[in-house]
Each structure stands twice: as structure tokens, then as C-alpha cells.
Amino acid sequence: MLGRLLLRILGFGAKGKLSSFPTELGASMDSASVAMAEMPAAVEPSPSDIGEASDKYSGTVKINSGVLRTMFEDFHAHRGTARGEEETGWLLIGRRESAGVVIEAALPPGEFRDAGVAHVNMNSTAQSVAMRILKKAHPDLDVLGVAHTHPGRLNRPSHGDYQGDSLWVPKLRKREGIFAIGVWDFDKTLNSGCDAAKYQLEEDDGADVRGVCSSSHSSGRAHFFWFALAQGDGWYRHLSVEEMPGEDLGREIRGHWEVIEHFAGSIDRLVHMQPALQMGLIPLEMMEVPTMVLCQPLAREGEELQVVLQGREVGFFRMTPENPEEIVGPSERLDAAFYEVMARLARGARK
């Protein structure tokens, strides 16, 4: 059924069913374990005087209302799941321009994230594949930072957060990152205004955030607080983030997240080895299930191999101007099957 629908969209008749492929969970867990293994040695935060805070982002950081809505929806939904007590997070994507910074997308942590009540390690393989797709439409998008939740009421980054973030921000443009902490059930009645000194802190480890908290965002029981950290900073500083009308550029990506994450490990390996490989998403209104297409040009001019990823199924199609045809792929991991099909095409075989 799905195969026939897909083939109709691709413009030719159905010849077979798409093959089911094994999950890519292993690849994602590998990346998680690498990140754990490379966890940095302890770095002690050294709070600086408020007067030393640099103001690179002051008054210039904005977030699209669609992105904020996404984060709140995710946070509320997450709390209702069996993993609701775990930390969760988002990769913040946007543009840095001379006029300021705009957060335009928040990519989810993925179902294969490694998380617990006191940590979260997002599925960066799936997020990197999603980012490659986003950059096709918006080439100047960049990574701006990370938002994540704390299960208690600690509404600022922890020492553990600083240990990782302080070593990560040099990899960001301008060597500075934007960070948000999400807190559930933060008690506003005990905290008038946004003064850091009045916050109700749990497990306060004494590290004060520089500057004055000038903005936070709330929706129901969910709250987000914003911070910045630059290379060489001894600790985070409060950040003013202004909501502005605008969509979440990652909305379409999120609708396809299941298929992206399922095949992310293979796709990540393929894009490294095949620079001509193109990725695209079939708009959700055109298909019953999220569908992704990989296109690899073939040696003969005008021909390409299309790999259709639909749910957990895969279809290979040799597209020619005259006679497009389906190729029955082996039931192996996606990248292995891709190379097997490419080898068959080079031999002139179809099976």
C-alpha cells in the first residue's frame, strides 16, 4: 500500500514492496558512548564580577515564537511520557548576523538519546543529518547552542554543564554559545521578578551567574531561563532573549524525525563517502507516512539511483528518462545495501 502510493508520487507503477531494514540504534548508541568516553576532566567554574560580563549578545538575541512553542510543546509532552523524569534537550539553530542573533529552529534530542534524571546526551548523529537537510534550504544556518532541562528546580546551568560547555563553545561561531535551562514547576510565587538572588534554587552549588536575569519564558508549568557562555569565561551570564513572530524552521524536519533518526547512522556514513548524494523530504501532505529520498547520480548522464526511506522500509529505484525501474535491495543495513545496489548497477545486474 505504502509502496504503491510512493511509486505513484515518484511517477511510475508499483513493482514490489519496500524492504524492512534493521534499526540504526547501534550507530546512535556508539556516538553516545564516544561522547561519554571523551567527557572532559573536571573544570572548576570561577565566578567573575558582574562588571566583567561581556555584552556580545545583550539586547540582540531573539527567538522565533514558533521555536519557543515547539520547546514548550515538547517539554509538556515529555513530562507525560514514561521518560518524563529524565532530562531532555534541544539543539538551538539559527543565524548570526551583524544586527544580532535569531534562534530559528530547535532540533529534538531523539528517541535514541542517552538520558537519566541528571544527564542528557542527545542523538547528535540524527541532529547532524537533520542539519544537513536544513542547510540545503537555509545555507547560513548555524549551531547557536543547547537547551536542556533540569528535573529539580535548579534554574541555571550546573557545574557539570560548565565542564562540557566551556570546552565546546570554541567550536561555535564567535566562540560563544546560547544556553537555556528548562525547569518544571518553578515556583513563581517565591520569586518576584527575575532577580537571580531571589530564585528558589535546589542543590545550589554556590556558583553565581553573572549579570541580572532579564528574561525567562513560561508556559503552564514549564519555564526556560537563558544564559550565554564564551570561550574563556569563568562562568555563564544571564542573557536577554526576546520572542519575535516567526516559524520554527525545523517543523518539517520534526514531522520526519522518526525516519531520519532510524536511518541516521547509515546516512551519516553515506554523506561522508558520497559527496554527490542529495537528501530531500517528501512534504507530509503528499504522503501518509514520513518519507525521505536520497538521490545518487549514476555514471550514465541523466540517470540516478533514488533511495526511498519510508517509515522503516527502504526502496531502491533506478531513475532514467525512459524507463524508471525498481531494484530489489538486500535486507542489510542501509549503507551496506546502497553499495550492494550500486555494485549491481555497475555490473549491469538487477538482482
Partner: protein, 67 residues
């Protein structure tokens, strides 16, 4: 494709860009479609980063944990 020699103004701009780049102060911008020299930019602030740099940053996102 047009292989005409550069005029004196274009040559001067390119030499300035090469010197600035050698000094580590500026980047050299190129039109990806025609490979034409299109000017200079600040090495860090004005030049959009390549996809691989962005992907490298994503894959380096640290574990966030409460210690």
C-alpha cells in the same frame, strides 16, 4: 567560460585580499558557481561556516549532567 585577464583594479583587490589572508586577518570570498573572486571578509564574524564545521560542532555537543 570567460578567461579574460584581470584589469588593474581587480588585480589590486585580489592582491590585497591575498596579503590580508596571509596575515591571518581576512578570508577570501569566492562565488561557488563561477569561482570568481568576490571580495574579502572577516575570518570569523562575516564568513558563514562550512557545513563540515557546523556538523563537527553538532557532533561535539557535550553530555549535560548535574554534578
Amino acid at each position: 567560460m570567460d578567461f579574460r585577464p584581470m584589469d588593474s583594479e581587480e588585480r589590486r583587490r585580489l592582491l590585497d585580499a591575498l596579503r590580508g589572508n596571509a596575515a591571518g586577518a581576512s578570508s577570501i570570498k569566492m562565488d561557488p558557481r563561477t569561482t570568481t573572486f568576490t571580495g574579502t571578509g572577516s575570518m570569523d564574524a562575516d564568513t558563514p561556516r562550512g557545513e563540515n564545521q557546523v556538523i563537527d560542532a553538532i557532533k561535539s555537543v557535550p553530555v549535560h549532567y548535574q554534578a
